[in-house]
Symmetry: C2
Subunit: 238 residues, 2 copies
């Protein structure tokens, strides 16, 4: 049975199989070794994520096989400001940390061997948010700020550290690239192909640190290069 990696998160996960998306790249990278399974829910914060865990990961209680890994990529919506138009998605910082801990603890309880990889929200390009608001924005103030996203990113890193989990500090990593605002983000929040590439590369590197790499995972069925042209069927004997 081919093992699975689940991608659990908000819209940045849900749209990760679009053109150049980090989820599709991951599925392509692991095309003969792992099933990459999409569990992205646009607009969701950790409060809502907690409510749907059993439904997003059925089989947990049914003795379903443990996945190799789960990426947990929330915070962009939690960090919506409480006094702007996305206020209904906002979650207070302390609750965000507690929710992340609860998500991790649910996953660990169900699947003790599964690697859990936390990913912080990306930085926010406030100018981009003003140019591409979701809905009419008469206040003309961004509904998310980079400062708020940074506070949630730090909280995510803190939860990872205290739980001994790997984490990708996307908020910090992305800002190391000059021009990240337009190069890595298409609307101040969601990823461009270059932003997707960054996430893909960081996820592959972290999974490798956890022992999950193409070199170490078994290939599903014989590779063409290993099939003897003079006796191909030999490779398919069970």
């Amino acid at each position: 049975m081919r093992p699975k990696i689940y991608l659990f998160g908000d819209s940045i996960t849900e749209e990760s199989f679009g053109d150049g998306g980090w989820g599709a790249s991951l599925a392509h990278h692991f095309s003969r070794t792992v099933d990459v399974v999409l569990r992205g829910y646009s607009g969701y914060n950790t409060r809502w994520a907690l409510k749907v865990l059993e439904r997003a990961f059925p089989g947990c209680d049914d003795g379903g096989e443990a996945p190799l890994a789960v990426t947990v990529f929330f915070g962009a919506n939690d960090a919506s400001l409480p006094d702007r138009y996305s206020a209904f998605q906002h979650v207070p910082l302390d609750e965000y940390k507690q929710n992340l801990r609860s998500i991790v603890s649910f996953l660990k309880k169900q699947w003790p061997t599964t690697r859990i990889l936390l990913i912080t929200p990306p930085p926010i390009d406030e100018d981009g948010r003003l140019q591409f608001p979701y809905v009419e924005n008469p206040l003309n103030q961004p509904e998310r700020t980079n400062e708020a996203a940074g506070a949630f990113a730090k909280a995510c890193v803190a939860v990872a550290r205290e739980s001994g989990l790997p984490v990708i500090d996307l908020w910090t990593k992305m800002q190391q690239f000059p021009g990240w605002q337009k190069d890595h983000l298409r609307d101040g929040l969601h990823l461009t192909p270059r932003g997707n590439r960054l996430v893909f590369e960081k996820v592959v590197a972290k999974l490798r640190d956890e022992g999950l790499s193409l070199e170490r995972l078994p290939v599903d069925l014989p590779l063409l290069a290993d099939i003897d042209p003079n006796d191909p069927l030999k490779s398919f004997q069970k």
Copy 2:
């Protein structure tokens, strides 16, 4: 439990989660409704595919839930000419038909309700094959021809007709686009982003004919647009 669509085939399936790939586009299209599961095996013909069915689709015998659909996309390797450098991948036309029937019958027996969608091999641009051979090609003759691919495509359509299955005649459809040789194929055989787009659109249309469309499939968990901003948690009551 989110339902599945399996993509079963050769390299044109295995690489379908690459940039602009038809598999990734399908996963993106169905991002909240269906898990699109990759079962592509580079270089495989129907003879080898038959040998690995139980391993490619474990769970069949274990009472695994029936997928919504399986795409069966073989023939490009079967159609390799028997006297050129890919001869070891060649399968005679009659055996190809019989193998396709056996694959269909295996799937139907395991999962009587699952839609099986056959896809013919694409046309071959012989000039592209000469420019991008897999291995040294001292004969300087293409290892595949468009004529041979066409014969296998017709055989695939015939098997679909006799079995009452939907089929995408990719060999014919692609050649209706002037310039298909370089526009739709990158090496005379594998798909460009435009070729991938064509396959994606045809698969979505055929699945829709079978009743499998975004309009008819249930969405996994509440959509953001359906969540009441004044009482978001109402949407998450079970």
